[in-house]
Symmetry: C2
Subunit: 263 residues, 2 copies
C-alpha cells in the first residue's frame, strides 16, 4: 500500500503515514489540488480532504488560491529544533568570522538518523550561488567532507548501520563509492583531524571540514566550500585545514564552557 521503506510488520499508524505522504508530496511537487493529490497518492478525494482539513486546522497545511501547500508551522517547529542544537547556538558567530576572513561559504552540519543536515550557511559573497546547496536539505554522509568527518568518528557498528541504511551513493565521478576506499579515507581523516572534499559532492566544488567535539563524541562539523579554481594548492593543502580546524576549536570551547556553566 505505502511505497515507503521500512513498511515492515511493526506497529504504526497508517493514517499518520498518509498525512505525512501528503505533506511530503506537497513539498517536493509544489502546491496541489485535492484531486491531484488523490491521484498521485492513489486515495479517494474525500479522504485527502479529511487529512488536509486536519492539517490546515493545525497550521500544518494552507490553502492558497485553490491549492494546498505545507504550512509555516513546519517552519516554526523546525526552527525551534535548530535553535536547540548547541552547534548552532555557539557556532554561528565563529562561522561568520571564518566566512568573512576567507570570502567562501561556511557551513554547520549535524547528523540525524545517518543523514547530514546543514543547519547554517554563511558568507560566500564572491561565490556563485548553486541552487542545490542550501540549508535544511539532507545529504548522504559519504559524499561530503562534513559527512566523512562524522563517519570517521563513528564506531564500527554505527558505521555499518549507516552504510547499510543509505548506501554509498554517487554524486559525481569523484564520490567515494567503494567501501574499502572509504575505510582508508576515514583512517586518513582520523589521523589528520579533518576531511577534504575533492569535487565529491558537486563538480567544481572543493571543501574542507573539521569535527566539533562535545563531551561525548562529535556534535557536528564546520566546513568551508568554494570553487575549485580558488580552493587549490597550498591554500587547500594546509591553510584552509588550519583555519577550519581553528574555527571548530573555538566552537568546541564555547560549547563546553557553556555546558559547564549550565550546571
Amino acid at each position: 500500500m505505502s511505497n515507503h521503506p521500512a513498511d515492515d510488520g511493526q506497529t504504526g499508524i497508517k493514517s499518520v503515514d498518509t498525512s505525512l505522504d501528503i505533506v511530503e508530496t506537497l513539498t517536493t511537487e509544489g502546491p496541489m489540488t485535492i484531486t491531484e493529490l488523490a491521484e498521485v497518492l492513489d486515495r479517494s478525494p474525500s479522504n485527502v480532504l479529511a487529512h488536509l482539513r486536519t492539517l490546515e486546522r493545525r497550521g500544518f497545511a494552507v490553502k492558497e488560491n485553490d491549492r494546498y501547500r505545507p504550512g509555516l508551522r513546519y517552519y516554526e517547529v523546525g526552527n525551534s529544533i535548530k535553535e536547540n542544537y548547541p552547534l548552532y547556538v555557539h557556532g554561528t558567530d565563529p562561522a561568520d568570522e571564518l566566512a568573512a576572513d576567507t570570502g567562501e561559504y561556511v557551513w554547520l552540519m549535524v547528523v540525524e538518523q545517518g543523514l547530514g543536515y546543514y543547519l547554517y550557511k554563511t558568507g560566500g559573497e564572491d561565490a556563485v550561488e548553486s541552487g542545490a546547496y542550501t540549508t535544511g536539505s539532507r545529504w548522504r554522509l559519504n559524499a561530503t567532507a562534513s559527512g566523512k568527518v562524522v563517519l570517521a568518528h563513528m564506531d564500527d557498528d554505527e558505521l555499518d548501520e549507516v552504510l547499510d541504511a543509505h548506501g554509498l551513493h554517487s554524486m559525481t565521478p569523484n564520490t567515494i563509492t567503494d567501501r574499502d576506499a572509504l575505510e582508508a579515507e576515514l583512517e586518513t581523516i582520523r589521523e589528520q583531524g579533518f576531511a577534504r572534499d575533492r569535487e565529491e559532492a558537486a563538480v567544481g566544488i572543493r571543501g574542507v571540514a573539521a569535527p566539533v567535539r562535545g563531551l561525548d563524541g562529535v556534535i557536528g562539523t564546520v566546513s568551508l566550500s568554494g570553487p575549485a579554481s580558488r580552493i587549490e594548492g597550498e591554500y587547500f593543502q594546509s591553510k584552509l585545514p588550519q583555519l577550519v580546524t581553528e574555527t571548530a576549536d573555538i566552537i568546541r570551547i564555547k560549547h563546553n564552557g557553556a555546558r559547564a556553566v549550565d550546571r
Copy 2:
C-alpha cells in the same frame, strides 16, 4: 477530549491530531519519554509508542538518549516553504543592506492564517539579543509594526475574520487592544504608508515597518527594530520610515521584475 480550538463537528482525522499533539508537546515542553507523553496527553503508552514509531520512521521524530524530540525533517520541510516565498528570495539582500546601514535588526514577515511569521532576521550587532525575538515564531498582528501594516491593507471581511480568530491580545501596556483605536491607527498607517511600534510588542523596543506590495496585495513586510534609547526623535519620526520604505520598494521592484521574467 482535545483541547484545541475548532474541534467542531467537521470531518477530520483524529489520529493525525494526536500525532500533531505529540510533536507540539515535544517542541514546547522539550524532549520527553513515552510515559511522560502518555501522561500529559492522557493516552495509553502503547498508543504513544505507535505514533512515535511512525514519526521516527519518517524522520519527524527522533529518540535521543531515551527521550523523543521532533526530527529535523520538520526543519527540512520548513526551510523549503521559506525558500518558496518571494519575499524571502528577493528580500534578504536588501534587508542585509539596511541592517548594515543602521546597525539595527531588520526583519521580513509574512502572514499565514492571520498570524505573522518572521522569515528572516539580520543585523543587530550592537543590539541586545532578546530571547523571545527570533525567526519562526508566530506573532499576533495587532502587537507589532509589521502586523499592523498587514492589517491596514486588509479588506474589512478579512480584518474581522482575523480579529475574531485571534483577538486583540496585549503584550505590553502600549499594545493596542481597543478595536476603535486600532481602526484609527490602521487609517493613519494607510495614509503615511508605514507603521510604528511604540513599545507595543516588548517594553523598550521600538520599530518601523513598511509593506512590500506584490501584483495583488501585500506579500509581506520589512521592519526595523531596536532599543528605544536609539530609536527616537527625528530618526524615529522621519529618517527610519524613509529608509525602511525605500528598502520595501527595492524588494518590490526585484519581486515584480522577477515575476515578469518568469513568463
